[in-house]
Point group: C2
Chain length 653, copies 2
C-alpha cells in the first residue's frame, strides 16, 4: 500500500500514513486534535481544514457543507477526505480542539471564570443539602474509604491468633462493620509489615454495603494521607475535585475537555462510534486519560502522591458511565433504551486504568435509566430535592436536559435531547465555554457589546452566549416570536449568505480567526429546538405530576452551563419557567457536588442508591402530550406567552 506524508501547519508536524487514511486520522496521528461534532460523519463541518500543498479532492459531502469560496481555497472536511498524495494542510483555529490551552496556560483563567459563576459552585467546602436535614445519616462523615490507625498487642502464647484476626479484632473496636474481607495483596506482606512496624499499622478500609474491605495495610500512622477524587464525567467537560478524606476538605479542582469529543460531540455519536468496529476501547482510554491528567495536575499542585488517593467517585450520564468502565453502550441508543447496569459495584480503579493507590476504589454513581444518569442522581442528592416535603424541580441543562421533579415521597424524571447547541455545537459559530468564547452579550441600537472568556478576541459563541444572543435578537425584534429573522429590517448586520439570512455578531476585524462570527437562521432554528425540548420536558413532567409551575417550591438549575446562565434572559427565550426569581437557584456543577458527598459519606452514597431506586422515569418519546408541548414551545418565549411567561416583555414592533 502506498504511503504519503502529511504536514500540518502551523505546527509543521509531519506524519506518514497509508493511502486512504482520512485527514482526520492523520491529524490525530500527528497529535493535532480536530474539532468534530458529528463523530466523523461529515455533517457538522467543524473539521474543515485547508489543503495548501498536494492534491486532495473534496468528496460529495464536503461539497454540500462548504461554500464555493472555501472549496476554491482548498478547504475540505478532514473526516471525509482520504489521503492520496503528499499533502500540506493548514488547520485554522476554529477547527482545533483547545485541550492544550485548557490543560496549560488558560486553565487557571477558565477555572477562574467557572469560579466567578453565580451561586454555588464546586470547590466550596460544605454542602447544600446536608445542612437542610440535620438528622440525615447521609450527613455522617464516613468516607467510602477510611484509614484507621491501630496499635496492636503483639502475639503471645496465650493469644496467638492469626495476624488478620488480630487486625480485625482491633479494627472492630473502631469501625464496627459486620463483616470484613481482605485482598490477597494485603495478606502477602502482612507478616513483615506488622513486625517491622512494631504492630502499629494503618488499615485502609473500603466500605460496601455492610462489608469492610481491607485494601491496604501501611506501617505506622498514615491516616493524614488519605485522599479521594470526585469526578464529574460530562459529555463535554470532565471536572475533578481533590478531597482530603480525613477532614472532607476540598483541596483543589481541575477540569479538562472530554477527549472523547474527538470521536463525536454528543452521546449518540459516541455510542455510534463505540459500537462500530472495536472503538469502545478508544473511548474508554480517552476518558481515563482525562481523569489521570486531572489527578496528575491536582497531585502535582498539592505535592501529594497519587498512591495516597484511595477512592474515586465518578458521576456521569449513563453513557459516560458505561464508556468509563468500558461497557458496550449499544443498547442505550435503541428503543426501549436499556443500559447494561444501573447500580455499579465498586471496582478496582486500576482495573479501569485510573492511576491511584493499589486496590483503590472506583465507585460510579447509580443511574435511573438510559438517559437519566448518575450525574442527575448526584444532582438530586446535592440539592436536597429528595429531603423536603415540598415539591421541587431540578433542571440539568446539557447536551441532554434531565429534569427531576418531586419531594421526599415521590420523584419523577425525564430527559430530552436538547442537542449540542447549548454546548457549542450545531451552530456555525458556537463553541464550548473556553477562551475566546462570547459569554455575555447585549444588542442596543444596532450595536453588539460582548464579554469573552479570558477577555480574548472572540473565536465563537458559548451556549450561554447563544441564549443571550437569541434573547437580544428577540428583545430588539430582529427575530420574530416564531424565531425567524424579520424581513425588511434595515440593519447592516443582517445579511444574506448561501441563500439564508444571517446576523453578524462580530466583524472579521474584531475576531481571533479573521472570520466574521454570525448566527444563521439555521442556527436559530437549532437553538429554538433545543430550548423547546427542555421547556417541553419540564412542562410535561409538571403536567404528568398534576401540578402547575407555581406549586413548585424551588427550581434548581444545574450544569456547567447553569452557572453562567442569565436568569432573566433564560426565562426570556422560554428556556426555564417564568416563576418568582427567588425560587430559582443555580447549583453550578451539582453532579460533582453529589459525587463529593458520596465520596466523603458512605451514607450519602447509600442515599444516592435509594434516590436512584426512588425515581420513576417517564420516557418522553412514549408520552404523547410531549409533542404538543414541544410544538407550543417553538416560540419566543412560548405560544402561550401571556399565560406562561407573563414577566417577559419585548420591544413593541
Amino acid at each position: 500500500m502506498a504511503k504519503y506524508k502529511v504536514t500540518f501547519l502551523p505546527e509543521g508536524k509531519t506524519v506518514e500514513v497509508d493511502e486512504g487514511t482520512t485527514l482526520f486520522q492523520a491529524a490525530e496521528k500527528a497529535g493535532v486534535y480536530l474539532n468534530s461534532l458529528c463523530g466523523g460523519e461529515g455533517v457538522c463541518g467543524n473539521c474543515r481544514v485547508q489543503v495548501t500543498g498536494g492534491q486532495a479532492k473534496p468528496d460529495k459531502g464536503s461539497i454540500l457543507i462548504l461554500s464555493k469560496e472555501e472549496i476554491q481555497s482548498g478547504y475540505v472536511l478532514a473526516c471525509q477526505t482520504a489521503v492520496k498524495d503528499n499533502l500540506e494542510v493548514v488547520v485554522p483555529p476554529e477547527a482545533r480542539l483547545e485541550e492544550e490551552q485548557i490543560l496549560t496556560a488558560s486553565r487557571q483563567q477558565d477555572l477562574e471564570a467557572w469560579r466567578r459563576a453565580p451561586a454555588i459552585t464546586y470547590g466550596e467546602p460544605g454542602w447544600v443539602s446536608l445542612h437542610k436535614v440535620p438528622h440525615d445519616p447521609a450527613s455522617l462523615f464516613e468516607p467510602l474509604v477510611t484509614k484507621v490507625y491501630l496499635e496492636l498487642s503483639p502475639p503471645t502464647r496465650e493469644d496467638n491468633i492469626p495476624d488478620t484476626g488480630r487486625i480485625v479484632r482491633e479494627l472492630k473496636k473502631k469501625l464496627n462493620y459486620p463483616e470484613y474481607e481482605i485482598t490477597l495483596h494485603c495478606l502477602k506482606d502482612m507478616c513483615e509489615q506488622l513486625r517491622s512496624h512494631d504492630w502499629k499499622v494503618t488499615v485502609v478500609v473500603a466500605r460496601h454495603d455492610d462489608m469492610g474491605k481491607i485494601i491496604q495495610i501501611q506501617g505506622g500512622d498514615t491516616t493524614d494521607r488519605n485522599y479521594g477524587v470526585a469526578v464529574d464525567v460530562g459529555t463535554t467537560t470532565v471536572v475533578a475535585q481533590l478531597v482530603h478524606l480525613g477532614t472532607g476538605q476540598v483541596m483543589g479542582v481541575e477540569g479538562n475537555h472530554n477527549l472523547q469529543a474527538h470521536y463525536g460531540e454528543d452521546v449518540l455519536s459516541r455510542i455510534t462510534f463505540a459500537c462500530g468496529k472495536g472503538s469502545l476501547r478508544i473511548l474508554q482510554e480517552a476518558v481515563v486519560k482525562n481523569i489521570n491528567t486531572l489527578i496528575k495536575a491536582l497531585t502535582a499542585e498539592k505535592g501529594i502522591d497519587a498512591a495516597d488517593i484511595t477512592c474515586v467517585v465518578a458521576a456521569g450520564n449513563t453513557t459516560m458511565s458505561h464508556l468509563l468502565l468500558g461497557l458496550m453502550p449499544c443498547s442505550i441508543r435503541d428503543d426501549p433504551y436499556v443500559p447494561t447496569v444501573d447500580l455499579y459495584p465498586p471496582f478496582s480503579a486500576r482495573e479501569v486504568g485510573i492511576e491511584i493507590a493499589r486496590n483503590g476504589i472506583l465507585q460510579v454513581m447509580p443511574s435511573v435509566a438510559s438517559y437519566v444518569g448518575g450525574d442527575t442522581v448526584a444532582g438530586v442528592l446535592a440539592c436536597g430535592l429528595a429531603d423536603s416535603a415540598e415539591t421541587s424541580c431540578l433542571i440539568d441543562v446539557g447536551t441532554n436536559g434531565e429534569i427531576v421533579i418531586g419531594n421526599n415521597q415521590w420523584m419523577l424524571s425525564c430527559s430530552a435531547s436538547a442537542g449540542p447547541a447549548f454546548e457549542g455545537g450545531d451552530t456555525k459559530c458556537g463553541m464550548r465555554a473556553t477562551r475566546g468564547a462570547i459569554q455575555r452579550l447585549n444588542i442596543s441600537d444596532g450595536r453588539v457589546a460582548y464579554d469573552t472568556i479570558g477577555k480574548a478576541k472572540p473565536r465563537g459563541i458559548s451556549g450561554s452566549g447563544l441564549v443571550e444572543l437569541l434573547y437580544e435578537l428577540a428583545r430588539n425584534r430582529i427575530v420574530d416570536i416564531d424565531g425567524k429573522f424579520r424581513s425588511g429590517m434595515a440593519d447592516k448586520r443582517l445579511v444574506s449568505s448561501d441563500g439564508q439570512t444571517q446576523y453578524i455578531v462580530a466583524f472579521p476585524d474584531e475576531t481571533a480567526t479573521g472570520r466574521e462570527l454570525v448566527i444563521t437562521q439555521t442556527d436559530i432554528d437549532n437553538i429554538m429546538r433545543s430550548k423547546a425540548a427542555i421547556f417541553a420536558a419540564i412542562k410535561s413532567l409538571v403536567n404528568y405530576a398534576g401540578l402547575s409551575f407555581d406549586q413548585l417550591n424551588k427550581v434548581y438549575v444545574a450544569g456547567g452551563f447553569g452557572s453562567y446562565l442569565d436568569i432573566e434572559k433564560s426565562i426570556g427565550i422560554g428556556l426555564i419557567p417564568d416563576i418568582t426569581k427567588e425560587k430559582i437557584e443555580f447549583l453550578g456543577n451539582s453532579s460533582l457536588m453529589g459525587a463529593r458527598m458520596a465520596l466523603i459519606s458512605y451514607h450519602a452514597y447509600d442515599k444516592a442508591v435509594r434516590i436512584s431506586r426512588g425515581i420513576t422515569n417517564i420516557e418522553l418519546s412514549h408520552y404523547a402530550p410531549f409533542a404538543d408541548e414541544y410544538m407550543a414551545a417553538l416560540y419566543l418565549p412560548h405560544i402561550d406567552h401571556n399565560l406562561l411567561f407573563p414577566s417577559v416583555k419585548f420591544k413593541e414592533s
Copy 2:
C-alpha cells in the same frame, strides 16, 4: 565476572554460569533437579554429585558428610560447592528428583499403586461422611461455583430495566441468594452477549457467604461444561482431582511431587528458604506449576478445556497454603507460631497464577493453627469426626503429624514434628514412595524379602517400608527395645561403617544404583524419634481430654502414607495405639477428599469453616507432659509395652 561451563552427565546438558554459582543452582538452570532435604543447608547430603572433569574443592561441610572414599572419587555436595572452573559432573540416580518419571511413564503405575492401597482412597465417587448424617446440609449438592441457564424475556417499553437487573431477577428464581455482585469483565460485553444469543445465557455464579458473585456470562446453555479441581497440596506430593460440577462425579486424578522440594524437604526448611532473600516467589511459582501441570494432564486426558474449570479448592497445611498464595510464612516458624491468616477469602485463581477460567475461584481450606492446617480440617470434614456424638481420633501422618480428637461437641488438635523420616528423608536410603521404593518387607532367618513400587530394582526405602523394616528388625530381635542394634549378633547383614553399625537391606547387585541399601543406627534413631513424636502427640491429646484409648470409638489414619501402612506393624513399632483393629480405619488422602466435598457443596465448605473454628489447638511444645510421653515412646513399641501395647509380641531373645 568470570563465567564457566558446567556439563551434567549422563544427560550431557551444559550451562554457562557466573563464578561462584553453586552446582545446585547450575543444575537447576540446566533443568536437572537435584534432591535436597535440607533446603541447601549442606546437612542432608542428598545432593551429592561426582565431579569428573575440572577442579571443584569440597567445602568443610561436605567433608563432614561425605566419606573419604567419596571425596577421593570427586564427590561433593552440590549445594555447598561453588563453580570456579569448567566442570563435568555426574548426577547419580539417588541425587535426582524423579519428577519426569512421575509425570510420564511411571505415573500410571504410581497411581495404580495408590489406588491399590487399602480402604477408601480418592478417586471414588461418594463421600464417607455425608452418608453418616443424612440431614446434614453439607450433603446438599451446591458447588462453590454453579452454572445456571437462563432464558430471559427481551426488554420492552414496559419492562426496560437494565440487563443486569433482568439477569438477577431471573437468576433469583433459580438460585435465591440474598445478594448478587458482578465482575467488571462480565459487564463489558453483556449487552452483545445477551442480544447475540437471543437472551439465552448461562450465568456462572460463585457463592461466598450469602453472596452470589457472577463471574461469567456465556451464550447459550453451557451448564454441562462446568468443572472443578480439588487439590491436596502436600509438602511432598501434590494430588489433584478433576470433578464435574454439574454431577459431582470424579473424572480423574493426577499427582506429582511438590516442586518446592528442590528448596527444602520439610515445611521448616521451606520457610527458611522463603524468608531468605526474595525466594518466596520461587516457592509460590513452583507449587503453582505443580497445579497447572496436573490441570493440563487432567484436561488433556479428558479432552476438556481448562477454561471450563471454574473453581479450585486447595487443602494444605498452613505453610503450604501460605506459600501457594504467596504469603510470607516467616512467623509460622517462630514461637508463638502465628500465621498470617486462617480463613482464606475466595481469590481469583488467575491472580495466583492458576490457569483456569477467567475470574475462576481459588478457595483455600480454612486452617486451625500454624501447624494444624486446611488439610487436617478437610480430613475432619471427610471422616465425619465432627458429626458423631461418640469420640474419635484422626491421625494424619506426614512430615508433620496432626492429631484431632473429639466429637460433635468439642474437638482438640495438636501437631508434632515427625521429621521427614516417614516421607523418605532423614535416613541414608530413605526415599519417597515412587518407582523403586521398597514398600513391603519381611525378614526371616537372615533373609530379606521385599516388594518395590513398580516392581523395579530397589533404589531406596519408602516411609512405610521403613516402618516395616523397623518392625521386622525388632521382631527378629536384631534391634533391641531401645532401638539399638544388639551387639554380638551373627548376621552377615550387620556390618560396621564410618564407626557405626548398619544393616544391609539389599546388596549392591540387587539395587538400581549398584550401591547397597542400608539402615544405620542413626537412621533408626531418627525413625524412633519420628514414631515417638506421633505416638506421644496422640497420647498427650487423649490424656488432655481425660480419656483413655479404649474410649475412642474410631481411629482414622490418614495421609498418602496412611494408605500403605501395615496396621499390625504400625502398632508393632508403637506408632499408632494398640486398639481393636476394627476401630482403625485408613482414609487414604482425606485432605483431598475434604477438598472435593467443599468443591461440590458450599455447605460442606461452610461446615469446614465451622470445624476450623470449633477445634481448640493444644501447642505441645508448651504442654509439659508431652516431653515425658515422648521419652516413654522412644522404645519398641513403648516403655509401657504390656500396658499400652499388649497385643505386640516379638521373638524371645
